[in-house]
Symmetry: C2
């Protein structure tokens, strides 16, 4: 039984106003203050260099691995680094609306502590000494909000830090920024009635992606070099791809999830995961290794007690080149990717084919439409009643993409599934996973799109298949930037006859000029628990074929 | 909605008769035929030596590791070994009713093939070359029954071998015997309307345990040296303990489950596991290593792709002794173990305390009654409707222990839980797991009872807590034989005041003379995924303190 929408108390609008005031007040504490920016361009990426100091630009545009090296030796101070990222994050908020609050006081205090520690001890406190890390809002922080995108949850406060934050702090991180997420956390965009819409830094008419879209936009604008997102259908990878940065959805049960706020807690049919978005692959790797090395399974028993593998997962030949077999999935057979995505794939594949040791084969999609039926039947097994309750308790309106994924989703059963129906879908899920496993043979990784196009215009991200596919299969999947939409080259495919309604929707969406400047990314996917191999393959390819082909900063 | 009991077709009695005739016909094919045994003693363990040849006795009472060594070099032939175990298994059926069918034709044919292979190739076909393995009936075999203990399922036939059998066959095993299980598979005993009751080889008034009680009795009587059971609440460990053999409940998702027949398929709240019962710890180890080494995760993606660790998991000191910290759980705080169990623990602990490097500490039980509430609320999340349907479809009567665990269990909600209720119990389960994890500190293993007594009289195994506790926590748990009930020493604890109804039931149950001869076993428990450590600790203790203290053959 759903409770009636609240009739008394503050209106949802006044709660939203209060949340935004809190955010703005936290930004106002960042010193020195930023100038007011009046004339916002479509592409915001040129703004930082007009506002920030040379030192701030240099720090914030550094690879996190470089920063860590400088921080650990005292070449730069933690305070300098925190200060630079605080200012750039505040600027990012002005440009693309990606922040729920900044934490200048605690961040600078912690940075000072770390600087003193280094001076006193002559060594860094841990592997992340002094590195600022940004955090999606629904990952709990002690004494801070934990609204997960719902107006009615605005008064929820974190009782303690999430497990993952405890580990990162222990390793030396500085937490300085909290980022936006959509209503329900179940959009591949980021819009909520609390904070409005998060925009794409490279084209403000497009979405930053979601649900970790605050992270995507912030990391995309270099207001963060390493951030934490969560992913149950594409929520790390969509914003990483849309904003031209790296994002990894690790295999389940490797990284700690304790202390997150969300609907459907206790649900295990499709396990959500937590993972990094970063400006470099090195950032992704140091994040994973630090967390796994901390043995999080001791505190959180659902996690698996297996180390982060550091030995090579690939065959290495005498000539020093690696043996890698890559399956290329051009199109999932359901929704055809837009021309810029196919061009990016084409360019990468052409270069791969020239590498010794690398073998490229076609990866035929296997019933990806059925995969979506399974996963979307399991997502809201309670009929979406928790989301409905959380939305309607405050009287806030349903966002279009909440309606789309719950109310208009024919795989969500009104009133919820019975336990036996959940078990039946679970059996189908496992059968599908076994069928898909048989396709691998000796393929090492799959190379594929991250979505059916670059970042779409707001409220149009309605096809999850290119990311949710790997959530269903629980495969590690890594997004990396490749190129940019070029309307002059990436013209509409004339005469294409869509296969189905979803395909038609996506085909009709593509007008090259609307996508100008948008980053184009691709995805590398591995077998379950081959996270290390996926990262290693991308390291090798980046070195050999010079990815990304276009720089965003 | 449950279907009405069937009104037409054969009666359940005639189906049972047919199943037993099929079993008897399969036994009749074993050559040379066994003599008729008329005068069955309470303790059947002296019968084999009056019936079998010296060679058959020698083979069937050998450690499986010794057999494998002899088989791999051709010192004994696969055919000799299969023949010996077929005869002893047929005898075991006569004595304790543990078999659903024998497979003499296929087993001997396969054994001949293996003998030829060894002769032709000069090497064994795999690590289990020629080893006979017995199999619980609900583990599917191609073209054979798959009734899982229900009359109404008697016509179900395996479409293919279960995944685990494919691997064992590939490794050289000979499958020759299929064993009994109880109605619903959810008893810690073994009685069904298809085959009746399986008895304890050492005292026929007691149960063999269950649900893998056919395996327990067969391995206990040395009609098998290595068998496969399944466990969701104690179903490997109860029969292993009751019958004086080794049994391991591995951590979940290590061994293949594909191809099993049971109710509640698709249920993941409490993951069932498959594992070995064996006459030696070496048998347990070779089983685990062979299966994990076969990389079963490639075919069955729910499994974890991690090797069986062969390097020592313990601290080793210069003097060559191992550093092991053992927590001793004497009593779970809910139901006090009977005197023979406490005596076994006392004897082992006294010896442990004299070992250098071994530290013994008390392990205080933490809310084991709450653990039972959680697990028994999650077992039959559909309200037991599948079990009811499967029982009532044929008109067969409910067995007392089926009634006990489903109909009389106040944690089974009529009509089943809602999806949200399942999630709530799942959250409670994870919280409890996290709380329990905090207790470990630097303890390596927990030593504890396997049940609240030795094997009870039939229909009296009503306390699961000493085994289900570790299913809830998903801890690897290994049962090993220690001693035997001695009514002269193991007298009733006079003046004990039971703490609750369950404790009173168990206290009242103990009359020393009724338990005469019954094996007494203990359990070693490790942290999640520390299966290798648990096995290693027991190997070390067996060597150092000479377990078991009494031999059963």
């Amino acid at each position: 039984m759903l409770p009636s929408p609240r009739k008394t108390g503050p209106s949802w609008q006044s709660i939203a106003e209060q949340a935004q005031k809190h955010r703005d007040a936290s930004l106002a504490l960042v010193q020195p203050p930023l100038p007011t920016i009046t004339d916002l361009a479509l592409d915001t990426s040129s703004v930082p260099k007009t506002v920030l100091t040379a030192e701030e630009l240099s720090i914030t545009e550094s690879d996190p691995v470089t920063l860590l090296s400088q921080l650990s030796t005292g070449t730069i101070s933690s305070k300098q680094v925190a200060q630079a990222f605080l200012r750039r994050a505040a600027l990012a908020q002005t440009l693309v609306n990606c922040i729920t609050e900044l934490l200048p006081a605690t961040a600078l205090e912690r940075a000072s502590y770390l600087d003193t520690y280094l001076q006193d001890n002559g060594k860094p406190i841990g592997p992340l000494h002094g590195l600022p890390i940004s955090v999606k809002e629904h990952i709990g922080m002690k004494d801070l909000t934990l609204n997960a995108g719902f107006i009615s949850w605005h008064a929820r406060i974190g009782a303690a830090n999430a497990h993952i934050l405890d580990i990162l702090l222990e390793a030396g991180a500085v937490l300085y920024a909290r980022t936006t997420q959509p209503q329900t956390l179940m959009h591949l965009e980021t819009s909520s009635n609390l904070y409005g819409e998060t925009l794409n830094p490279f084209n403000r008419t497009l979405t930053s992606g979601g649900s970790s879209g605050g992270e995507g936009a912030l990391v995309g604008l270099r207001g963060s070099c390493l951030g934490i997102g969560t992913d149950i259908g594409g929520s790390i990878r969509s914003p990483a791809a849309n904003c031209g940065v790296y994002g990894l959805r690790p295999t389940s049960h490797r990284l700690p999830l304790e202390g997150l706020s969300a609907t459907m807690l206790g649900q295990e049919h499709i396990v959500p995961v937590i993972g990094p978005l970063s400006t470099s692959l090195g950032g992704v790797k140091v994040f994973m290794k630090t967390l796994v090395d901390a043995r999080p399974w001791v505190r959180e028993p659902s996690l698996l007690p297996f180390a982060w593998k550091t030995e090579s997962q690939l065959r290495v030949f005498g000539a020093g080149y690696k043996g890698i077999k890559i399956g290329v999935l051009w199109d999932d057979g359901v929704v055809r990717p837009h021309p810029p995505v196919t061009r990016a794939l084409n360019t990468v594949v052409a270069k791969l084919k020239s590498l010794p040791g690398v073998e490229v084969v076609e990866w035929k999609p296997y019933k990806h439409d059925w995969a979506w039926t399974i996963i979307s039947s399991l997502y809201f097994a309670d009929g979406g009643s928790e989301e409905s309750m959380a939305i309607e308790a405050s009287g806030e309106p349903w966002r279009p993409l909440s309606e789309f994924i719950i109310k208009d989703n024919r795989n969500v059963k009104k009133g919820g599934l019975t336990v036996r129906e959940v078990w039946d879908w679970t059996i189908k899920r496992e059968e599908y996973k076994a069928e898909y496993a048989r396709l691998w043979g000796d393929v090492d990784v799959i190379l594929c799109p991250v979505g059916p196009g670059a970042a779409p215009p707001l409220d149009h991200a309605r096809y999850w298949g290119y990311t949710s596919q790997w959530n269903l299969l629980d495969y590690p999947s890594l997004v990396f930037p490749v190129s940019r939409v070029d309307p002059a080259i990436d013209v509409v495919e004339v005469g294409y006859v869509p296969r189905n309604d979803k395909d038609k929707y996506n085909y009709d969406l593509y007008e090259p000029n609307k996508y100008v400047n948008a980053p184009v990314s691709l995805q590398l996917v591995g077998r379950r628990y081959e996270d290390e191999k996926v990262v290693e393959v991308l390291e090798y390819l980046e070195e050999k074929i010079g990815l990304p082909f276009e720089k965003f900063f």
